[in-house]
Symmetry: C2
Subunit: 379 residues, 2 copies
């Protein structure tokens, strides 16, 4: 029997509650499909930061780096730690450190779940968003400058780069904030390759998202690379779409999409909208994948501190993320078992949390899914 | 009787068709409310660019600058001119040149129009988005660099600014594209002031949009300024929201919003999603406003070249933009007259274009609205 050592970071707010249910499902599947998990709990998040002053230590990174995958609950608590510190210091740090360049987001409306948009059923909402996860405006390059510095900074920008519009309105300003997005050819190639391959396994249709009509430099590179890489996959139909239009189509005709590839920031936005049309954040799992390295699996919802300890929030996203993780680790049958138990739970609709109109507790839903996993395993 | 001289740029694709109906409504309202319009037609767009090689000439800018407002159809034709050239060279150039820092977008579901989201009626979808229209990632600063240059560019970035994440993945890359967003304190203050004042005239609730947990530098400034300016408007309730969450709430609980203030790029995205929940781009008007200068009014939809000449698309967005323009010019009663005629046309539902499930032509809808304007004027 294989034993997996899987680090787990329950994190802040409702993180520990949903992670408990994710583990429950994975353990249950282990009984059926014949593996064991040794969970290695790591205490990252707001409390850890307040106690130790550290976001992630080198030791923790080293420990995580020994494994092919780890499991994350949720990070951040605005009441305790200023916005941005834990998001950038832990979550994005982990994604970047382990070069998890693929953020994989299945957007799938399950039977038995209501979508807030009209006239759409489970067969209409079933696509994948592949979000580039290491570059773009997430690169963390930016700053602020105050009067006096302003014109010097602007001069630098003008000299270093071809400034195309005049910035007169800014030179008079007492203060500016700026942010630099960077996309590399290499970074774009690899995410395109992954996305085309995924499309080949599905309905052979890949849609790229950009805003190349305005941010011509950064997204020009993105679009060109999409076209270049596409030449190696002549069996995949392609189109590019402006991000503003994509948000409209998610609501109007989500059935258009099969696989979507998006730069980091636009990917962030459309995956949340995707969560909404599949029934809410409580149902939205995410994988942060480095095929050759250490990957991280998490529910897309935040830590929701005000729900902490109420045993109320939906654990399905976390359980689903667990299925993605076991799939990644090679336990294909177990992953399918977990997913089909989620589907059965949602289709039956007896045990569900408040966000889906039910009154069951977080732990009840987790137990129900675990029960179904075992029951299906006996058949 | 006042005579207004109003420049009009019909532009590309369906631009001329919808502009014709916008003018028809404004002229009809002139008969009722006692003004005359002398339309000054200016031939900008794809054909003009192909013929003359110029996007906008200095002379045209000078001519436009003599007026308080002008009317725009749509620009761009991807089949003739490469993506980005006309968008940046004309549309954004006009917004920037005239410092039209307010992009005003009423998001209002009219009675008789179907929204694609469930359980929402006209009273639930009725808010304004105020999009900052001159800064952010629309500043047009960016570039590409190839191997060899890369590390020099990165060194420059590192020296000039505080680079917070390591960019090792990029230094190995053969090519990068980058884009720099800039927000100024002054530019943020003025848009906040405008938005707070608008909220005071409505339900005294202003929501700010940002992504200050990731793009901490640029949107940190935005958020701080929102808070600072807010101290001058203690009667307005405020909240800030991450852009990804805002897209979810547009679909889940649009009734939450009263006035929204957003930086340029996020504003672009959420106003399109806003168009969708109010029934589509055919119903979405926009004003590009400089209260002390020259403003521009336009429908939010694109030029849709493949519909050109079919007399098919919905002119309501353009007519509504015309109402915003007349309001801006001080013709408050005429603006109300046009808007109430739009409302009557949509409520009655007999004369409507294909996007609203009808089979009327563009020109039929314009004529119907003009008829109602005159009829209402007689009562
Ligand atoms: C918390 C935040 C930094 C994060 C992101 O923007 O990537 C989140 O929204 C996500 O989508 O995982
Ligand atoms: C055409 C494009 C440049 C423009 C923008 O991004 O601002 C459009 O989408 C809009 O919203 O007016």
């Amino acid at each position: 029997m294989t034993t997996y050592k899987i680090p787990v970071i329950p994190g802040d707010g409702i993180g520990p509650e949903v992670i408990a249910e994710g583990k429950k499902a994975i353990d249950a599947a282990g009984e059926v499909y014949g593996y064991d998990v040794e969970w290695l709990e790591l205490p990252l998040g707001a409390d850890h930061y307040l106690k130790t002053g550290e976001t992630v230590s080198e030791d923790t990174l080293k420990e995580l780096g020994r494994h092919r995958a780890f499991f994350l609950g949720a990070l951040g608590d605005e009441r305790k730690v200023k916005t941005g510190i834990l998001e950038k210091g832990v979550l994005l740090r982990l994604r970047f450190h382990f070069d998890q360049y693929i953020n994989l987001r299945p957007v799938k409306l399950m039977e038995g779940v209501e979508t807030p948009i009209k006239n759409k059923t489970a067969k209409d909402i079933d696509f994948f968003v592949v979000r580039e996860n290491t570059e773009d405006f997430y690169a963390g390059i930016g700053g602020r400058c105050t009067k006096g510095l302003t014109s010097q900074h602007l001069k630098l920008l003008r000299e270093a780069y071809s400034v195309k519009f005049d910035l007169d309105v800014l030179t008079d300003s007492d203060e500016i904030g700026y942010q630099i997005g960077v996309i590399s050819k290499e970074g774009t190639r690899r995410i395109m390759d992954y996305s085309f391959k995924l499309a080949q396994q599905r309905n052979k249709h890949l849609s790229s998202v950009d805003k190349a009509n305005v941010m011509t430099d950064i997204y020009g590179l993105w679009r060109e690379t999409f076209q270049e890489v596409g030449r190696n996959y002549p069996d995949v139909r392609t189109d590019f779409n402006f991000v503003d239009a994509v948000t409209m189509w998610f609501v109007k005709n989500p059935e258009f999409f099969d696989v979507i590839v998006a730069p980091n920031m636009f990917g962030d936005i459309i995956t949340d909208l995707g969560a909404m049309i599949q029934g809410g954040l409580g149902l939205a799992p995410g994988g942060n994948v480095n095929p050759e390295g250490t990957s991280m699996f998490e529910p897309m919802g935040g830590s929701a501190p005000k729900y902490k300890g109420l045993d109320k929030v939906n654990p399905i996203a976390t359980i689903w993320a667990g299925a993605l993780m076991m799939d990644h680790l090679g336990e294909k049958e177990a992953a399918k078992g977990i997913l089909s138990a989620i589907e059965a739970n949602l289709r039956e609709g007896r045990v569900r949390t408040y966000d889906l109109g039910g009154s069951s507790r977080t732990s009840d839903v987790g137990s129900d899914v675990a029960r179904i996993i075992k029951m299906q395993g006996r058949n």
